[in-house]
Amino acid sequence: MTEANNKKGFWQSFELSALVAITGIIVLFSSAVIVTLIAPNFVDPTWTQPTTPYQVQMHEISDPNFYISSSPIQPEEIQAVYHLKNGFTLLAFQESYTTRILASKELEKYVTRYQSSTPLKLTSKVLLLRPPADKSKADALQKELNEEWKKSNPKETSPNFVILELFEPKENEAFAVAPTDGVLEDWVDENFVILDKNNQHSYHNDPGVIFINNPLEYKVQYITYFGKKGWLYDPAGEPIASLEQLKGGDMGFRSRQELIQIGETIYAHEGCWYCHTDQTRTLVQDVVLNGSDSFPAPPSSPNEYIYNRITFPGTHRIGPDLSRVGIKRPSRDWHRSHFWSPKTASKGSIMPAFQHFFDEDPRGSSVRTTGIPNYKFEAIYQYLMTKGTRITPPTQAWWLGKDPINTINLIEGARSK
């Protein structure tokens, strides 16, 4: 054993082989980092680019402007409110057999009339529908429609015709309710026209656009309920003055984007990802299990995850895969009873109950067996509903052209030999 000379300096005390070793380790390690961590972002475009304009618009246009809350007085009824912005939000005023629109001469051009052959008219001007101010006009139309119905269907009672009036609010923004399932948005990719060419946002030039159909002005009434201040949706109430009021403490609306982000955080905090994977693998078992009875599901592609802050592909499937849960289990009611008591909702389940996603019913007499969903439930529900629903627009079959492993041939071809 020879001992090193202690008078040597710091650097001399490292022998050459040690320096070579350290350099070697760094070179080997960095080359792996460059090839496996940095290069793929530049080599494989699916890692960073979205699948369709629908995916982009859901994230950038719809999510930040779609607000959800529930009245403390009627907590069972979820309130979904659109924030409309001039020059940004695309609106359609579309008549159907039972929905008719009254419009003044200036606004007539924005209405897509029932049975007209014109393409769907969209506008980025803020316009709204409301119950007609002038009752006589509406009554006359109602009468006319009823008579028309009686002529063609003499034996049946006539349907409830809804007659609305189109008007232009003074402000540049507005708050509206529209028919929605809260998960998918109205989408049009052919046979449409956007009016107001001088009032355009860049997304209006996409090959398809998200729009809001027949928005009604959102109005609320403030009431005191057992000494507690509250509010209720009421078409005859007061309009919402500003976004601050909508998001403020009394009403507590959160945008779908905020909810999805909170949901992602809850998914991390609650450790959902220890038991559920979020990837449909390129295996027959996965694509068939997540698919429908006629077509396999597309396997997960990197671009489905580009808007996530955290992604949970998962390593263990104690519970089923969740990458297509928005398609397979879209029902809010199903998730509600399942989170409340998984063992009851799904027999044989070993999933823990998540009753902290619910509040006690303030009225103390819920007709339901579960609590009242709180924002945590809305958040995790909205987060789960992004899974599988945004790959293709709702007008397209989502599985078409997305079966790289050729599942059907694999199953049917293998047997026919």
């Binding site: 054993m1 080599v43 494989d44 991390a268 450790g271 070993i350 823990p352 199953i411 049917e412």
Partner: protein, 481 residues
Amino acid sequence: MTVSTTTSAQPTYNDTAVKWMVYPAIIFMILGMFFGVFIAFNGLVFPDYFSGEYVHFGKVRPVHVGHVTLLWLLSANVGLFYYFIPRLCGVPLWSTRLAITSSILWWATLIPMVYSFPLGTNSGWEYAEIPEFLGYIPTKALFAFSWILTVINLTMTIATRKFEKMYVSLWYTMGTMLWTTFTILVGVWGIWLVPGGISRVNVNFFYVHNLVGLIFTPMGLAQAYYFLPKFANTPIYSHKLSMIGFWTIAFTYAWIGSHHILHGPISQWLQTTAIVFSIWLFIPVWSVVYNLFSTLRQKWYLYNESVPIRFIIMGVIFYLITCVQGPLQALRNVSEITSKNDWIIGHSHISLFATFTFFAIAGIYWVIPAITKKPLWSQRLASWHFNLSLLGSIPFIAPLWIGGFLRGMLWATWADGSTYAEYHANLAALPFIDTVAEMHYWWMTRAYGGLIILFANSIFVINMYNTILLPARHAPQEVTA
């Protein structure tokens, strides 16, 4: 160069730093195992028996993992570094005061972070769950800083060493210090620099694999290479072979992260790269196993005489098993069956428990009598500890493999049919939940195996603390440090 020659002309070593790391780590091992047994029962055997926001499976699992990986294994490994690095260098630790400072910072940040998980601080990345902030305190950064202080301390000790030649354990230590620092930087902060989505997943799996492969593996092997020759009082079989093992680890490990997401949403060429490098792993593994077995080649009777040698040798055998599994699991067709079920959980437990915990335990059996200068309180308890640990390992790990494999087979083969519709109908006829029910008895066996291991290691803790706290029962033997 052999370890046995380093015993000449001993300087006096101050082992306060070792105590600061190893003593608490032993307690956290048993706590970590307790949390593991708790979730094995409460999560899977009697699902959700203790129910609620703070005790359900998803909240307690990271507490278990945080204990066994960080509070126990990493801490114990650092404590053992503080013991054997000065002795391999022939100089006292560069700064005991710095070591105590970094240990205080280590425990003060790590304990609150691990115990905060039930309150909702899990950051959502596997093995990187510990939160960035607790309140306004940047706990993760402080913890990383504490690691940097440890690295500085050990590097300076090596730099000022008296013995010119470096034993293989020092190589592994230096490798660990470099790799760990890089791995933590990449996995914890670098992950936010790449675009959201699969890029971050890729970085995370890189980090996950390197945490095991470039931190616990070299740390554990450094211990095995140091303590086995010590216990057996015999030189290592081949220094050259150990170098081959070291450099192949350095060459392969960093490339194989994406084998965790085979068949998943990640580029095929990246999966193939990971598979190729995973196969290379056979080289370091066989070289390590051959080397350690051969070290004992003339002295197999020691296996019967010494409990720590039994721990190391059994650890090596389990290491061999886990590392045969590893590269094979990375093959696409094997992965189709073994991935995403309890097989993987079995794989991670055999490496972290039956291999690296066994190595660390053997090290502690050497270190504690050496630093307290008292003989082990009870050899019989030590013997029981080994026997029960080994006995518990079988029902602990085997059901995870068998049950996981059967479940994987069920998933892959449960459906059949000549048309797609028929195939899908068959698949839907056997609901997923039935494959959960299949696991019940395997999970139960695993939980009982875990109980045995918990009991075995309770004996270990009692034995160790009696050694530390009680006066020596026997006349002190000559303790070689």
